[in-house]
Symmetry: C2
Subunit: 356 residues, 2 copies
């Protein structure tokens, strides 16, 4: 029984503008470590001496990022099993359907480890340990999610309520709760049985096909049709544009996870996880930044990110995000981190696609 | 009787960092108009058809700015009478003494119009009109200052109290008041007889020599000795380094104006004057900035300055200065505009003279 990592890296994280742009979204941007989140993800599922054996990765991305994907795979010294290119974004249910269909055609007994490339995991061995835990549950017929120990009442994440234990650190899922309000999030923390949904899944390819057929048959059929019409002889597959574009855009959480009886969760994992979704989250990963960092005078709790060519000086400011990248400067309070899209819209209206 | 404009442009306006640096201080930086304050000053005292006749200008600057001075004079199409270069900064009394000594050697009856190059004057004809008014007072033996109609209780300026009238809009000076506190500044505004000291002077060269001999003889003798030891055959004069460096560093206000009985003031002038000393003052001159300006969303009362290659987006911020120039970004509340020196010190401590 083989485990096939399928790395999703087609998104564009606009909330991290100006560092993340549609040309080079955050998963491909070099972090403080000098390595992008995509390369970190690739390395996280590569061969290691810990007993967990994974196949070469399948990459699912947007066609426009093929150059970045190939370059960064080469930099990481990794040969992919395949690179599947979406002509347009169709959300995670379409990706899961394509992944399940693609792997089951190669290996009907294969397990799929579906994971986003734009998250940070500070402790890869803790993560791999929980993948090993998840394999035992997945192979007896479960779609396994990975629960992260919540570090606060975040309202931007999905929460998983763990039910009956079915393994060492594996549980039946009682419920998925998407993006609760603050009061609800606080009650989840107090309850103790909720963890954050990391958006990572391990499942038998055939089980995901069956569950999609049951709960979102149009998505499953659309994905299969798109693969049927795609030339699959090369390593780089351009998914059929017309057929893929027709697939309904829905997340795997809404399409399957909230309906299936087969959901399990492992964890909660303490693997120093972050979705790096907003500037405050990004800033936390920068705490151990370069010595030649910004000049901060009488300033508190600021997140300052700058490129190598620019010095930032902040004087007498508090709780600000100051981000400099590639000809653009963003200044906002941390509390407005979810609203970077307003800047993106203004840039579009001004025709400044060169900055997006 | 000839009037010799003497333009002081040796200072470095660090409060406007990062736009103003010691390599290119603010008086040489291009403003929104595309013209530097130095070039504007040169143009303000050039020939015009308004009956005021001025000689070619004498430039007093720091030796390190010779290249900028020559280039910008050439751009303005102006030939200087002379360029006097200070080996180091010795404040305005030394400059006034050198100017008086230099002009009286050329023309014992000459009047000197001593003016800083780093101020903005929005209405040059109003200014030239008041110079014409000042000539009548200066030539009968007065050191004439120029009073600016105060637009608020500024604490960073010197104030001039006008006394007895001695001409159409000329008065004996009752008192000079340096940088009052807020309450005192408010009382000056209420009083109505105070104006801001623009730091511009018109005087007979011989009178300034006499007053310096009376109130600061060491400065006057030092300046004369420095000129004696300087090769004055060329248009560009390098003031003798050893002798100039020995002159006491004191402002002309403290050295002479607060003691002399010969002070007069013309005005108050409404010539849209600004000393462009701090970012808020600089920002006001940018109100009619380029259309491709910054993106401001839910932001109020901010001053944003950026170079042509950088876009600034501000989201949900208020009363901030955001300045981008040549590899440096400064973010601070307007209220901290006087403290930019703290950033300059931090840059020096870090050895980042490339940014200063």
């Amino acid at each position: 029984m083989t485990i096939y990592p399928v790395i999703m890296c087609g998104g564009s994280g606009t909330r991290l503008w100006p560092v993340s742009t549609s040309r080079t979204p955050k998963q491909f941007v070099n972090m403080v470590s000098g390595e992008s989140l995509f390369r970190q993800t690739v390395r996280r599922v590569a061969q290691a001496d810990d007993g967990l054996s994974l196949a070469d990765p399948v990459i699912i991305s947007n066609a426009r990022y093929l150059g970045l994907v190939e370059q960064q795979l080469a930099d990481a010294g990794v040969t992919p099993l395949a690179i599947l290119l979406e002509p347009c974004a169709r959300n995670t249910a379409a990706v899961a359907a394509v992944a399940a269909e693609f792997i089951s055609r190669i290996d009907p007994d294969g397990l799929v480890l579906l994971l986003p490339a734009d998250h940070f995991i500070g402790n890869p061995s803790a993560f791999r340990k929980s993948v090993a835990d998840a394999v035992e549950v997945a192979q007896v017929g479960r779609i396994v999610t990975f629960g992260i120990s919540p570090s606060g009442p975040e309202t931007g994440f999905g929460y998983i309520k763990a039910g009956e234990a079915i393994g060492a650190s594996a549980f039946i899922v009682d419920a998925f709760r998407e993006k609760p309000d603050q009061a609800t999030a606080l009650s989840y923390l107090a309850d103790g049985s909720y963890s954050w949904n990391a958006g990572i899944f391990l499942f038998p390819a055939s089980l995901m096909q069956a569950e999609l057929h049951a709960h979102a048959p149009d998505v499953m059929e659309g994905a299969a049709a798109a693969l049927d019409a795609t030339d699959t002889n090369a390593t780089v597959l351009h998914l059929n544009e017309m057929l893929f574009a027709q697939i309904r855009s829905i997340s795997i959480d809404y399409a399957v996870m909230e309906h299936t009886q087969k959901a399990a969760v492992v964890g909660p994992i303490s693997c120093a996880w972050s979705d790096v979704g907003t500037w405050p989250a990004f800033g936390e990963l920068h705490l151990e930044a370069k010595e030649t960092g910004p000049i901060l005078i009488d300033s508190k709790n600021c997140i300052v990110h700058t490129d190598d060519n620019t010095l930032v000086a902040a004087l007498g400011v508090e709780d600000l995000v100051i981000a400099v990248h590639d000809g653009a400067v963003l200044v906002m309070p941390k509390s407005r981190a979810q609203d970077v899209k307003l800047v993106i819209e203004a840039l579009k209206a001004r025709g400044r696609s060169d900055l997006l």
